[in-house]
């Protein structure tokens, strides 16, 4: 769509001027906002290629371009271990969540059983509590089961903690699919299990994909739980590692922190931009109003 800058026929001087002015204003706003959005990004990317280590000396456009910070990041810190730990947690959490939440969502959407309303109400209330309200109990529990300082034990909390929210999400999604589909399958003699795998599962795949993505993403930047439950450096997750790298250490580690941030944020940012439409639809699906 081309922008019409020329004067339209029959347009008075005043309206023409007004139109030109508003076009200029709009572009001015867009440019200013884009700079506000992009400058911090350029600054942190630039900082990661800066010479020196401190916040004070780092520039958005480095004077001498260097990869030192990235090299130091892998040599001096356990960045690679943190990355792998988090990746492991993310993958296991994704699988466990899809399984746990998927079955819950299906059962609550499609099956009739005693205590269903009570169950739905309870998980509705449960999802209002922030996870760390139960943190002290979880700490004591983990201590007694020998699960402290075990990265994979975090999956238990992530996957289970998200069951309430995901159940409602999946249930809401399935409610929009006519029940006649699975009823037809029953009439044709399919068992519950067959109906689930052949009919329901394919229908559920978009919302399960959404759950999978969000649950894969969650551990990367969760801070509170791993910070509380994991103590040794080589078992840390990325979020805790990065936070400890920079907290109070702006002069020694800033450029290294920048490098670490770029390495983890770049893939996620690109992924989110590509998946934007899908993710926004998923986010709003939960609040599907009549």
């Amino acid at each position: 769509m081309a922008v019409q800058l020329k004067r339209k026929p029959k347009e008075s001087n005043k309206t023409y001027l007004l139109r030109l002015l508003s076009i200029i204003a709009i572009y001015l706003i867009l440019i200013i906002l884009s700079v506000a959005v992009i400058y911090p990004v350029i600054w942190i990317v630039g900082s990661s290629f800066n010479e020196g280590t401190s916040l004070a000396s780092s520039r958005a456009i480095p004077k001498n371009f260097t990869l030192d910070n990235y090299i130091r990041l892998f040599q001096k810190t356990k960045y690679k271990t943190w990355y792998l730990n988090t990746l492991k947690i993310a993958v296991v959490n994704m699988i466990a969540s899809v399984f746990l939440s998927g079955t819950m969502g299906y059962v609550f959407a499609r099956l009739k059983f005693a205590g269903k309303k009570f169950g739905l109400m309870s998980i509705l209330i449960l999802q209002m509590f922030p996870t760390f309200m139960g943190m002290v109990a979880i700490y004591v529990l983990f201590l007694n089961f020998g699960l402290l300082d075990k990265p994979l034990a975090l999956v238990l909390i992530y996957a289970v903690g998200q069951i309430p929210y995901n159940t409602w999400l999946i249930k809401g999604y399935l409610n929009n699919v006519p029940k006649s589909l699975d009823e037809a399958a029953y009439v044709d003699g399919a068992t519950k299990f067959q109906t689930f795998t052949k009919i329901i599962l394919p229908i559920m795949s978009p919302i399960l994909t959404f759950v999978a993505i969000t649950q894969f993403m969650a551990p990367w930047f969760d801070f509170i739980l791993p910070n509380y439950l994991i103590s040794s450096d080589e078992k840390r997750t990325l979020a805790v590692g990065l936070y400890r790298l920079i907290n109070g250490q702006q002069n020694n580690n800033f450029t290294m922190f920048a490098a670490g941030s770029v390495l983890v944020a770049a893939p996620i940012t690109i992924l989110y931009i590509f998946l934007q439409k899908f993710l926004v639809e998923g986010l709003t699906a939960g609040a599907n109003k009549e």
């Binding site: 081309a2 922008v3 508003s22 076009i23 709009i26 706003i29 867009l30 884009s34 506000a36 959005v37 911090p40 990004v41 600054w43 916040l55 520039r59 958005a60 746990l100 059962v107 099956l111 739905l120 109400m121 999802q127 209002m128 509590f129 922030p130 760390f132 309200m133 943190m135 002290v136 109990a137 004591v140 909390i157 289970v160 903690g161 069951i163 309430p164 809401g172 409610n175 519950k192 930047f221 801070f223 509170i224 910070n227 936070y243 800033f254 941030s261 983890v264 944020a265 996620i268 940012t269 690109i270 989110y272 931009i273 934007q276 926004v280 986010l283 709003t284 609040a287 109003k289 009549e290």
Partner: protein, 452 residues
């Protein structure tokens, strides 16, 4: 069982229409009434449940397990008895080999109570079933056979079997810790009473009283709550209107390359929030930050209370606007154009059309998301923790800084200062506020209306 429930008294809903001998038998020994009703499989089912519980209690008690010389009497109790004893007393012996750990006793007590509630459910159901089956037999002379019962059991338990693992995990990892967290509010579990070195005690509403009577606690509570509410309101409205404004601008007919602008403007949404916040906390650094260097000034962005609050809102604006922009763009483009045309024919100006038609429709559509966003901001731990860490310090506050929200105050009390009981009291406050808002909001959604 399938007759109309309306005319039944409350107790009839619980134990069946009438207490019969079968019911009485089941009252004392689960399954016995079913045996009298000649329902062997069902009787075995109920009896089995009771058997497992009793066996578990015996196996864990000193009747079976080894008794260490000199151990306190309570150490020989079975799992359920010890659980109830533990949560009631919170332990009795301190020091030495046989010291009680109050937190552990509380957790065991909670698990025991949850399991006993499950037992209670089966027990009542077993009495009701014994009564009703017997009454129906007297009426019709018909009984369900064992095969029919097993088929029905299989059909009914299908749902429970599938969600069973998830439910057990929810009980243990989610419900129990939350209950524990709430119970702590009624104990003296704080930095001066730490387990296992000390025993805890129930203190009733003492901690709640402290919140309203001790000046420092009261000031902190009121101050932090006021800031939390103002922050949540401002943060939600700035991002909402910012997003709406941007959506209108980007979708304007004069704007070329819409996709390009939109992609740039959603970048803040795509970058992980924690990274952005940590980057901004350096960006706004008073001495070394690039912003002050660029301006050639020394503005205390994060070091002076009002500045820090404003910076927090600005950064939240940066982070939150893209989401609302995407949302509004979607809604705006799906709008019914005939409405506009009708309004134009009637001679409405663009401004009038926006405020009288577009905005009200948009607003009702986004309202649930706005409420959700309010609740999210209310508990926006990350924004505060990573950007200001609650600072700057407030010398009149107990364990909180000028920008601390209730949630980050709770975090500090729990992790840094070990004031577990006061943190738990604050959790109640948060739960009341957020719970009310969420229930109100949720009760309006389609998913909810279909169910309740």
């Amino acid at each position: 069982m399938h007759s109309v429930n309306k005319h039944k008294k409350w107790w009839q809903k619980i134990i069946g229409d009438k207490m019969t001998l079968s019911g009485a038998l089941s009252f004392f020994i689960m399954g016995l009434g079913q045996f009298r009703n000649r329902q062997i499989a069902k009787g075995l089912f109920f009896f089995g449940i009771q058997f497992i519980y009793v066996l578990f209690e015996i196996m864990t008690s000193s009747l079976v397990s080894e008794v260490i010389p000199g151990q306190p009497k309570a150490w020989g109790y079975g799992f359920f008895r010890k659980g109830l004893w533990g949560i009631y007393t919170l332990g009795e012996s301190t020091g030495g080999r046989f010291r009680d750990n109050s937190t552990m006793l509380m957790i065991e007590g909670l698990i025991a109570i949850m399991l006993l509630l499950v037992y209670l459910f089966f027990w009542i159901y077993n009495i009701k079933d014994a009564n009703n089956i017997h009454l129906r037999y007297l009426e019709t002379g018909q009984r369900q056979t064992s095969k029919e019962f097993l088929d029905e059991l299989f059909e009914k338990s299908f749902a429970y079997v599938i969600i069973g693992p998830a439910l057990i995990l929810l009980m243990l990892i989610s419900i129990m810790p939350i209950l524990f967290g709430l119970l702590i509010a009624f104990t003296n579990y704080d930095a001066y009473h730490l387990t296992p070195a000390n025993l805890l005690d129930w203190v009733g509403f003492e901690n709640f009283k402290k919140l309203f009577t001790y000046t420092r606690w009261k000031n902190t509570f009121i101050g932090v709550t006021l800031w939390t509410v103002s922050w949540a309101t401002l943060a939600t409205f700035t991002t909402f209107f910012g997003g709406l404004f941007l959506a209108i601008i980007v979708n304007n007919k004069y704007v070329a390359f819409k996709r390009f602008w939109r992609t740039i403007l959603i970048i803040p949404w795509a970058i992980p929030g924690m990274i952005s916040l940590l980057v901004f906390s350096n960006f706004f650094n008073q001495t070394y930050g690039p912003l002050n260097q660029m301006l050639g000034k020394s503005i205390p962005w994060l070091n002076e209370p009002m500045h820090a609050r404003a910076t927090l809102l600005i950064v939240n604006f940066w982070l939150g606007v893209p989401y609302f922009m995407m949302l509004m763009s979607g809604l705006l483009t799906s709008f019914d154009k005939t409405l506009y045309e009708a309004a134009k024919v009637d001679g409405a100006t663009n401004t009038q059309i926006f405020w009288r038609i577009t905005f009200p429709i948009l607003f009702t559509q986004v309202l649930p998301l706005l409420v959700m966003s309010f609740a999210h901001n209310f508990n926006n731990f990350g924004a505060v923790f990573f950007l200001t860490n609650g600072g700057p310090r407030n010398i009149n506050y107990e364990y909180a800084g000028h920008t601390d929200l209730l949630i980050s105050w709770i975090y500090k009390m729990t992790v840094d200062f070990k004031m577990y009981n006061m943190a738990s009291v604050m959790s109640f406050v948060i739960f009341l506020i957020i719970g009310t808002i969420s229930v109100f909001n949720f009760s309006r959604t389609k998913a909810f209306k279909e169910e309740f």
